[in-house]
Symmetry: none
Subunit: 212 residues, 2 copies
Amino acid sequence: MSINHFSSTPESFWWTQPHLTMEPTPKPPQQHLLSPPNTHHHPATSFSLNLNHHHDDVDGEERENPTSLEVNKEPMFEKPLTPSDVGKLNRLVIPKQHAEKYFPLGGGDRTDSAGLLLSFEDESGKFWRFRYSYWTSSQSYVLTKGWSRYVKEKRLDAGDVVLFERHRGEGGRLFIGWRRRSSASAVDGGAMAGTVGWVGPGVLFCACLSCA
Amino acid sequence: MSINHFSSTPESFWWTQPHLTMEPTPKPPQQHLLSPPNTHHHPATSFSLNLNHHHDDVDGEERENPTSLEVNKEPMFEKPLTPSDVGKLNRLVIPKQHAEKYFPLGGGDRTDSAGLLLSFEDESGKFWRFRYSYWTSSQSYVLTKGWSRYVKEKRLDAGDVVLFERHRGEGGRLFIGWRRRSSASAVDGGAMAGTVGWVGPGVLFCACLSCA
DNA sequence: CTCGTGACCTGCGCG
DNA sequence: CCGCGCAGGTCACGA
Protein backbone atom coordinates (compact mmCIF):
# COMPACT_ATOMS: atom_id res chain seq x y z
CA MET A 1 0.00 0.00 0.00
CA SER A 2 1.28 3.22 -0.78
CA ILE A 3 -0.83 5.42 1.09
CA ASN A 4 0.57 7.00 3.94
CA HIS A 5 2.01 10.05 3.20
CA PHE A 6 -1.05 11.83 3.39
CA SER A 7 0.11 14.75 3.90
CA SER A 8 -0.22 16.67 6.08
CA THR A 9 -0.40 19.16 3.59
CA PRO A 10 -2.84 21.06 5.28
CA GLU A 11 -5.59 21.95 3.34
CA SER A 12 -6.30 25.07 4.64
CA PHE A 13 -8.67 25.92 2.13
CA TRP A 14 -11.43 23.65 1.79
CA TRP A 15 -13.55 25.05 4.35
CA THR A 16 -13.11 28.52 3.29
CA GLN A 17 -14.21 28.11 -0.20
CA PRO A 18 -16.87 30.28 -1.44
CA HIS A 19 -20.27 29.45 -2.41
CA LEU A 20 -22.90 27.40 -1.41
CA THR A 21 -26.17 27.54 -0.14
CA MET A 22 -27.45 24.64 1.40
CA GLU A 23 -30.90 24.58 2.15
CA PRO A 24 -31.35 25.41 5.58
CA THR A 25 -33.30 22.58 6.66
CA PRO A 26 -36.60 23.86 7.59
CA LYS A 27 -36.91 22.00 10.67
CA PRO A 28 -35.35 23.75 13.43
CA PRO A 29 -34.28 21.22 15.78
CA GLN A 30 -31.80 19.69 13.65
CA GLN A 31 -31.04 16.85 15.54
CA HIS A 32 -28.61 14.92 13.99
CA LEU A 33 -26.80 13.85 16.67
CA LEU A 34 -28.31 11.74 18.65
CA SER A 35 -30.64 10.71 20.84
CA PRO A 36 -29.96 10.52 24.37
CA PRO A 37 -28.89 7.20 25.44
CA ASN A 38 -32.14 5.57 25.73
CA THR A 39 -34.04 6.48 22.77
CA HIS A 40 -32.92 4.22 20.17
CA HIS A 41 -33.18 5.25 16.66
CA HIS A 42 -34.56 8.25 15.33
CA PRO A 43 -32.94 10.74 17.26
CA ALA A 44 -35.50 13.04 16.56
CA THR A 45 -35.32 14.77 19.70
CA SER A 46 -32.99 16.68 21.55
CA PHE A 47 -29.68 15.89 22.49
CA SER A 48 -27.36 17.61 24.10
CA LEU A 49 -24.19 17.99 22.61
CA ASN A 50 -22.67 21.14 23.12
CA LEU A 51 -22.46 22.54 19.80
CA ASN A 52 -25.73 23.99 19.39
CA HIS A 53 -26.40 26.16 22.16
CA HIS A 54 -26.30 29.61 21.61
CA HIS A 55 -27.63 30.88 18.58
CA ASP A 56 -25.24 33.19 17.23
CA ASP A 57 -26.45 36.61 17.02
CA VAL A 58 -24.33 37.76 14.23
CA ASP A 59 -26.05 35.35 12.20
CA GLY A 60 -28.98 36.92 10.56
CA GLU A 61 -27.16 39.59 8.74
CA GLU A 62 -25.66 39.93 5.43
CA ARG A 63 -23.34 37.37 6.58
CA GLU A 64 -25.86 34.95 5.42
CA ASN A 65 -24.54 35.11 1.94
CA PRO A 66 -22.63 32.13 0.75
CA THR A 67 -19.36 33.39 1.77
CA SER A 68 -20.21 33.93 5.27
CA LEU A 69 -21.88 30.66 5.35
CA GLU A 70 -18.62 29.08 4.66
CA VAL A 71 -17.06 31.17 7.22
CA ASN A 72 -19.45 29.78 9.71
CA LYS A 73 -18.34 26.32 9.03
CA GLU A 74 -15.91 24.95 11.45
CA PRO A 75 -13.72 22.07 10.44
CA MET A 76 -13.72 19.32 12.97
CA PHE A 77 -11.31 16.80 11.60
CA GLU A 78 -10.45 14.79 8.57
CA LYS A 79 -9.29 11.27 8.10
CA PRO A 80 -7.34 9.62 5.32
CA LEU A 81 -9.22 6.46 4.55
CA THR A 82 -7.59 3.15 5.21
CA PRO A 83 -8.25 0.14 3.03
CA SER A 84 -10.56 -1.13 5.74
CA ASP A 85 -12.52 2.07 5.80
CA VAL A 86 -13.42 1.63 2.16
CA GLY A 87 -13.44 -2.15 2.09
CA LYS A 88 -16.02 -4.66 2.98
CA LEU A 89 -15.96 -4.08 6.64
CA ASN A 90 -18.48 -1.35 6.04
CA ARG A 91 -17.32 0.87 8.74
CA LEU A 92 -15.27 3.95 9.29
CA VAL A 93 -13.16 4.09 12.38
CA ILE A 94 -13.21 7.54 13.88
CA PRO A 95 -10.04 8.33 15.73
CA LYS A 96 -10.82 8.35 19.37
CA GLN A 97 -9.62 11.81 20.08
CA HIS A 98 -11.94 13.27 17.51
CA ALA A 99 -14.83 11.06 18.36
CA GLU A 100 -14.74 12.00 21.97
CA LYS A 101 -14.32 15.62 21.24
CA TYR A 102 -16.99 16.05 18.63
CA PHE A 103 -19.38 13.19 18.99
CA PRO A 104 -19.49 12.36 22.62
CA LEU A 105 -21.75 9.49 23.35
CA GLY A 106 -24.56 10.10 25.69
CA GLY A 107 -24.20 10.44 29.36
CA GLY A 108 -20.51 10.67 29.39
CA ASP A 109 -20.14 6.99 29.67
CA ARG A 110 -19.55 5.30 26.46
CA THR A 111 -20.21 1.85 27.62
CA ASP A 112 -23.41 1.93 25.84
CA SER A 113 -23.06 1.03 22.26
CA ALA A 114 -26.69 1.58 21.65
CA GLY A 115 -25.67 3.75 18.84
CA LEU A 116 -26.79 7.03 17.55
CA LEU A 117 -27.66 8.31 14.17
CA LEU A 118 -25.69 11.21 12.87
CA SER A 119 -26.85 13.13 9.84
CA PHE A 120 -24.41 14.94 7.64
CA GLU A 121 -24.96 17.10 4.61
CA ASP A 122 -22.69 16.55 1.69
CA GLU A 123 -21.51 19.00 -0.90
CA SER A 124 -24.68 18.74 -2.86
CA GLY A 125 -26.96 19.21 0.07
CA LYS A 126 -27.80 15.55 0.23
CA PHE A 127 -28.17 14.10 3.67
CA TRP A 128 -26.28 11.09 4.82
CA ARG A 129 -27.25 9.40 7.96
CA PHE A 130 -24.77 7.13 9.62
CA ARG A 131 -25.03 4.93 12.60
CA TYR A 132 -22.42 5.93 15.11
CA SER A 133 -21.38 3.76 17.98
CA TYR A 134 -18.63 2.58 20.24
CA TRP A 135 -17.30 -0.89 20.02
CA THR A 136 -16.11 -1.99 23.37
CA SER A 137 -14.36 -4.97 21.97
CA SER A 138 -12.03 -2.95 19.84
CA GLN A 139 -12.34 0.12 21.95
CA SER A 140 -13.07 2.27 19.01
CA TYR A 141 -15.69 4.59 17.64
CA VAL A 142 -17.17 3.76 14.30
CA LEU A 143 -19.64 4.83 11.68
CA THR A 144 -21.35 1.75 10.40
CA LYS A 145 -24.73 1.69 8.77
CA GLY A 146 -24.88 3.99 5.82
CA TRP A 147 -21.16 4.34 5.50
CA SER A 148 -20.68 1.88 2.69
CA ARG A 149 -23.26 3.64 0.59
CA TYR A 150 -21.38 6.85 0.97
CA VAL A 151 -18.12 5.21 -0.02
CA LYS A 152 -19.76 3.73 -3.05
CA GLU A 153 -21.49 6.84 -4.23
CA LYS A 154 -18.44 9.00 -3.85
CA ARG A 155 -16.20 6.31 -5.25
CA LEU A 156 -13.85 6.66 -2.35
CA ASP A 157 -10.69 4.69 -2.24
CA ALA A 158 -7.95 4.10 0.27
CA GLY A 159 -5.92 7.19 0.72
CA ASP A 160 -8.75 9.53 -0.08
CA VAL A 161 -9.68 11.80 2.72
CA VAL A 162 -13.01 12.46 4.37
CA LEU A 163 -13.68 15.76 6.00
CA PHE A 164 -16.00 16.53 8.85
CA GLU A 165 -17.32 19.96 9.61
CA ARG A 166 -20.02 21.51 11.63
CA HIS A 167 -21.82 24.74 11.32
CA ARG A 168 -21.51 27.23 14.01
CA GLY A 169 -24.87 27.90 15.43
CA GLU A 170 -27.94 26.67 13.64
CA GLY A 171 -28.12 23.73 15.88
CA GLY A 172 -24.77 22.51 14.83
CA ARG A 173 -25.49 21.15 11.42
CA LEU A 174 -22.96 18.60 10.38
CA PHE A 175 -21.27 18.30 7.05
CA ILE A 176 -19.22 15.67 5.38
CA GLY A 177 -16.91 16.06 2.43
CA TRP A 178 -14.05 14.31 0.79
CA ARG A 179 -11.11 14.80 -1.50
CA ARG A 180 -8.96 12.47 -3.50
CA ARG A 181 -5.65 11.44 -2.16
CA SER A 182 -3.39 14.29 -2.69
CA SER A 183 -0.25 12.63 -3.81
CA ALA A 184 -0.01 11.21 -7.25
CA SER A 185 0.35 7.50 -7.46
CA ALA A 186 -3.29 6.94 -7.74
CA VAL A 187 -3.92 3.30 -7.57
CA ASP A 188 -6.62 3.08 -10.06
CA GLY A 189 -5.67 5.39 -12.78
CA GLY A 190 -5.34 8.64 -11.13
CA ALA A 191 -7.53 10.55 -13.42
CA MET A 192 -9.46 11.89 -10.57
CA ALA A 193 -6.64 13.30 -8.62
CA GLY A 194 -7.52 16.59 -7.23
CA THR A 195 -11.21 16.14 -7.27
CA VAL A 196 -13.04 17.11 -4.23
CA GLY A 197 -16.53 16.75 -3.04
CA TRP A 198 -16.99 19.58 -0.85
CA VAL A 199 -18.23 22.83 -2.10
CA GLY A 200 -20.29 21.42 -4.87
CA PRO A 201 -20.73 18.35 -6.92
CA GLY A 202 -18.11 17.76 -9.45
CA VAL A 203 -16.27 20.89 -8.88
CA LEU A 204 -12.64 20.60 -9.63
CA PHE A 205 -10.22 22.44 -7.61
CA CYS A 206 -7.06 21.02 -8.86
CA ALA A 207 -5.01 24.05 -8.78
CA CYS A 208 -5.87 24.89 -5.32
CA LEU A 209 -5.60 21.45 -4.01
CA SER A 210 -2.45 20.28 -5.48
CA CYS A 211 -0.62 23.43 -5.07
CA ALA A 212 -1.19 25.52 -2.14
CA MET B 1 3.87 -29.57 10.14
CA SER B 2 3.47 -33.19 10.01
CA ILE B 3 1.41 -34.04 12.85
CA ASN B 4 -2.03 -35.16 12.36
CA HIS B 5 -2.35 -38.58 13.34
CA PHE B 6 -3.98 -37.79 16.48
CA SER B 7 -5.31 -40.95 17.49
CA SER B 8 -8.79 -40.10 17.70
CA THR B 9 -9.38 -42.32 20.54
CA PRO B 10 -7.82 -41.02 23.54
CA GLU B 11 -10.81 -40.86 25.59
CA SER B 12 -12.28 -43.83 26.98
CA PHE B 13 -15.19 -42.37 28.54
CA TRP B 14 -14.60 -40.54 31.49
CA TRP B 15 -16.96 -40.62 34.20
CA THR B 16 -20.37 -39.64 33.64
CA GLN B 17 -21.56 -37.06 35.92
CA PRO B 18 -24.01 -34.56 34.94
CA HIS B 19 -24.06 -31.18 36.31
CA LEU B 20 -22.00 -28.30 35.55
CA THR B 21 -22.02 -24.72 35.95
CA MET B 22 -21.18 -22.13 33.60
CA GLU B 23 -21.85 -18.65 34.11
CA PRO B 24 -24.38 -17.32 31.80
CA THR B 25 -23.18 -14.22 30.23
CA PRO B 26 -23.70 -11.57 32.70
CA LYS B 27 -25.93 -9.37 30.79
CA PRO B 28 -28.39 -10.46 28.32
CA PRO B 29 -28.05 -7.41 26.29
CA GLN B 30 -24.96 -9.03 25.36
CA GLN B 31 -22.80 -6.29 24.41
CA HIS B 32 -19.71 -6.22 26.28
CA LEU B 33 -19.34 -9.35 27.97
CA LEU B 34 -16.54 -8.03 29.78
CA SER B 35 -16.41 -4.97 31.62
CA PRO B 36 -19.31 -4.61 33.81
CA PRO B 37 -21.06 -1.49 32.95
CA ASN B 38 -18.83 1.06 34.23
CA THR B 39 -15.44 -0.24 34.16
CA HIS B 40 -14.09 0.34 30.82
CA HIS B 41 -10.81 -1.00 29.72
CA HIS B 42 -8.87 -3.87 30.69
CA PRO B 43 -11.20 -6.68 30.80
CA ALA B 44 -8.65 -8.81 32.32
CA THR B 45 -9.02 -7.49 35.70
CA SER B 46 -12.62 -7.35 36.08
CA PHE B 47 -14.07 -10.57 36.81
CA SER B 48 -15.36 -11.62 39.97
CA LEU B 49 -18.34 -12.92 38.54
CA ASN B 50 -18.77 -16.47 38.93
CA LEU B 51 -16.85 -17.61 41.76
CA ASN B 52 -18.51 -15.58 44.17
CA HIS B 53 -21.85 -17.06 44.36
CA HIS B 54 -22.24 -19.20 47.20
CA HIS B 55 -19.37 -20.37 48.92
CA ASP B 56 -20.04 -23.93 49.22
CA ASP B 57 -20.36 -25.90 52.30
CA VAL B 58 -18.00 -28.69 51.60
CA ASP B 59 -15.38 -26.23 51.21
CA GLY B 60 -13.63 -25.66 54.42
CA GLU B 61 -12.91 -29.20 55.37
CA GLU B 62 -9.99 -31.45 55.22
CA ARG B 63 -10.98 -32.16 51.74
CA GLU B 64 -9.17 -29.12 50.81
CA ASN B 65 -5.78 -30.73 50.92
CA PRO B 66 -4.12 -31.37 47.60
CA THR B 67 -4.75 -35.02 47.44
CA SER B 68 -8.40 -34.99 48.06
CA LEU B 69 -8.63 -32.04 45.86
CA GLU B 70 -7.35 -34.16 43.08
CA VAL B 71 -9.69 -36.89 43.95
CA ASN B 72 -12.57 -34.57 43.68
CA LYS B 73 -11.62 -33.54 40.25
CA GLU B 74 -13.45 -35.22 37.52
CA PRO B 75 -11.92 -35.36 34.09
CA MET B 76 -14.31 -34.32 31.38
CA PHE B 77 -12.35 -34.77 28.21
CA GLU B 78 -9.12 -33.94 26.53
CA LYS B 79 -8.29 -32.92 23.04
CA PRO B 80 -5.12 -33.14 21.00
CA LEU B 81 -4.68 -29.74 19.45
CA THR B 82 -4.88 -29.36 15.73
CA PRO B 83 -2.78 -26.85 13.86
CA SER B 84 -5.86 -24.65 13.64
CA ASP B 85 -6.42 -24.80 17.34
CA VAL B 86 -3.05 -23.26 17.97
CA GLY B 87 -2.88 -21.12 14.86
CA LYS B 88 -4.16 -17.74 14.09
CA LEU B 89 -7.77 -18.63 14.03
CA ASN B 90 -7.78 -17.99 17.71
CA ARG B 91 -10.24 -20.65 18.56
CA LEU B 92 -10.43 -24.14 19.91
CA VAL B 93 -12.96 -26.46 18.42
CA ILE B 94 -14.57 -28.56 21.08
CA PRO B 95 -15.71 -31.92 19.80
CA LYS B 96 -19.45 -31.83 19.62
CA GLN B 97 -20.03 -34.83 21.78
CA HIS B 98 -18.12 -33.30 24.63
CA ALA B 99 -19.45 -29.88 24.15
CA GLU B 100 -23.02 -31.01 24.30
CA LYS B 101 -22.38 -33.21 27.23
CA TYR B 102 -20.43 -30.84 29.39
CA PHE B 103 -21.14 -27.39 28.17
CA PRO B 104 -24.66 -27.37 26.91
CA LEU B 105 -25.63 -24.02 25.60
CA GLY B 106 -28.46 -22.28 27.24
CA GLY B 107 -32.02 -23.31 26.88
CA GLY B 108 -31.29 -26.44 25.02
CA ASP B 109 -31.37 -24.66 21.77
CA ARG B 110 -28.05 -23.82 20.46
CA THR B 111 -29.20 -21.46 17.84
CA ASP B 112 -28.37 -18.74 20.11
CA SER B 113 -24.84 -17.73 19.78
CA ALA B 114 -25.08 -15.39 22.62
CA GLY B 115 -22.18 -17.18 24.01
CA LEU B 116 -21.12 -17.86 27.49
CA LEU B 117 -18.05 -17.10 29.39
CA LEU B 118 -16.42 -20.08 30.96
CA SER B 119 -13.80 -19.64 33.60
CA PHE B 120 -11.21 -22.28 34.14
CA GLU B 121 -8.45 -22.51 36.66
CA ASP B 122 -5.11 -23.66 35.45
CA GLU B 123 -2.44 -25.56 37.27
CA SER B 124 -1.19 -22.49 39.00
CA GLY B 125 -4.56 -21.31 40.15
CA LYS B 126 -4.72 -18.66 37.51
CA PHE B 127 -8.10 -18.11 35.97
CA TRP B 128 -8.71 -18.24 32.28
CA ARG B 129 -11.91 -17.00 30.93
CA PHE B 130 -12.96 -18.11 27.50
CA ARG B 131 -15.87 -17.21 25.40
CA TYR B 132 -17.74 -20.33 24.47
CA SER B 133 -20.21 -20.46 21.64
CA TYR B 134 -21.66 -22.43 18.81
CA TRP B 135 -20.86 -21.47 15.27
CA THR B 136 -23.72 -22.32 13.07
CA SER B 137 -21.68 -21.84 9.98
CA SER B 138 -19.27 -24.55 10.86
CA GLN B 139 -21.67 -26.40 13.10
CA SER B 140 -19.19 -26.58 15.83
CA TYR B 141 -18.61 -25.51 19.37
CA VAL B 142 -15.68 -23.29 20.00
CA LEU B 143 -13.75 -21.42 22.59
CA THR B 144 -12.78 -18.12 21.12
CA LYS B 145 -11.93 -15.04 23.06
CA GLY B 146 -9.13 -15.65 25.44
CA TRP B 147 -8.04 -18.87 23.84
CA SER B 148 -5.10 -17.48 21.96
CA ARG B 149 -3.67 -16.00 25.08
CA TYR B 150 -3.78 -19.36 26.72
CA VAL B 151 -2.07 -21.01 23.78
CA LYS B 152 0.60 -18.40 23.86
CA GLU B 153 1.26 -18.46 27.54
CA LYS B 154 1.45 -22.22 27.68
CA ARG B 155 3.40 -22.39 24.47
CA LEU B 156 1.06 -24.96 23.07
CA ASP B 157 1.70 -26.47 19.73
CA ALA B 158 -0.14 -28.81 17.43
CA GLY B 159 -0.27 -32.24 18.89
CA ASP B 160 -0.16 -31.07 22.44
CA VAL B 161 -3.19 -32.00 24.44
CA VAL B 162 -5.52 -29.88 26.50
CA LEU B 163 -7.41 -31.37 29.38
CA PHE B 164 -10.68 -30.29 30.84
CA GLU B 165 -11.80 -31.15 34.30
CA ARG B 166 -14.37 -30.06 36.76
CA HIS B 167 -14.60 -30.24 40.46
CA ARG B 168 -17.36 -32.18 42.06
CA GLY B 169 -19.43 -29.94 44.12
CA GLU B 170 -18.28 -26.50 44.88
CA GLY B 171 -20.40 -25.14 42.16
CA GLY B 172 -18.53 -27.15 39.60
CA ARG B 173 -15.33 -25.27 39.32
CA LEU B 174 -13.71 -25.84 36.00
CA PHE B 175 -10.09 -26.59 35.37
CA ILE B 176 -7.94 -26.64 32.33
CA GLY B 177 -4.60 -28.27 31.86
CA TRP B 178 -2.34 -29.44 29.13
CA ARG B 179 0.49 -31.79 28.33
CA ARG B 180 2.97 -31.97 25.54
CA ARG B 181 2.39 -34.32 22.71
CA SER B 182 3.21 -37.73 23.93
CA SER B 183 4.93 -39.14 20.93
CA ALA B 184 8.43 -38.11 20.23
CA SER B 185 9.02 -36.15 17.09
CA ALA B 186 8.61 -32.88 18.73
CA VAL B 187 8.65 -30.24 16.15
CA ASP B 188 10.51 -27.62 17.99
CA GLY B 189 13.20 -29.45 19.76
CA GLY B 190 11.39 -31.87 21.90
CA ALA B 191 13.06 -30.95 25.06
CA MET B 192 9.76 -30.33 26.66
CA ALA B 193 8.15 -33.59 25.85
CA GLY B 194 6.40 -34.97 28.81
CA THR B 195 5.84 -31.71 30.50
CA VAL B 196 2.40 -31.07 31.74
CA GLY B 197 0.57 -28.24 33.26
CA TRP B 198 -1.99 -29.75 35.40
CA VAL B 199 -1.92 -30.24 39.10
CA GLY B 200 0.65 -27.71 39.80
CA PRO B 201 3.33 -25.89 38.03
CA GLY B 202 5.91 -28.25 36.82
CA VAL B 203 4.40 -31.35 38.27
CA LEU B 204 4.58 -34.37 36.07
CA PHE B 205 1.72 -36.72 35.90
CA CYS B 206 2.35 -38.52 32.72
CA ALA B 207 1.78 -41.94 33.99
CA CYS B 208 -1.60 -41.22 35.37
CA LEU B 209 -2.84 -39.27 32.49
CA SER B 210 -1.67 -41.32 29.63
CA CYS B 211 -2.54 -44.61 31.12
CA ALA B 212 -5.82 -45.05 32.79
C1' DC C 1 -29.85 -18.47 -1.18
C1' DT C 2 -26.87 -14.01 -0.87
C1' DC C 3 -25.88 -9.69 0.67
C1' DG C 4 -25.43 -6.09 4.03
C1' DT C 5 -24.05 -5.00 8.35
C1' DG C 6 -23.93 -5.38 13.42
C1' DA C 7 -21.20 -7.42 16.73
C1' DC C 8 -17.50 -9.52 18.00
C1' DC C 9 -11.93 -10.12 18.50
C1' DT C 10 -6.83 -9.63 18.12
C1' DG C 11 -2.14 -8.55 16.35
C1' DC C 12 0.71 -5.06 15.57
C1' DG C 13 2.67 -0.62 15.26
C1' DC C 14 3.45 3.60 17.12
C1' DG C 15 3.94 7.07 20.61
C1' DC D 1 9.33 -0.68 26.02
C1' DC D 2 4.91 -1.32 26.84
C1' DG D 3 0.04 -0.03 26.39
C1' DC D 4 -3.48 1.68 23.54
C1' DG D 5 -5.57 2.57 19.20
C1' DC D 6 -7.02 0.82 15.34
C1' DA D 7 -6.53 -1.90 11.02
C1' DG D 8 -8.02 -5.97 9.59
C1' DG D 9 -10.37 -9.85 10.42
C1' DT D 10 -14.60 -13.54 11.65
C1' DC D 11 -19.21 -14.88 12.42
C1' DA D 12 -24.25 -14.33 12.87
C1' DC D 13 -28.46 -12.62 11.60
C1' DG D 14 -32.16 -10.20 9.17
C1' DA D 15 -33.91 -8.71 4.99
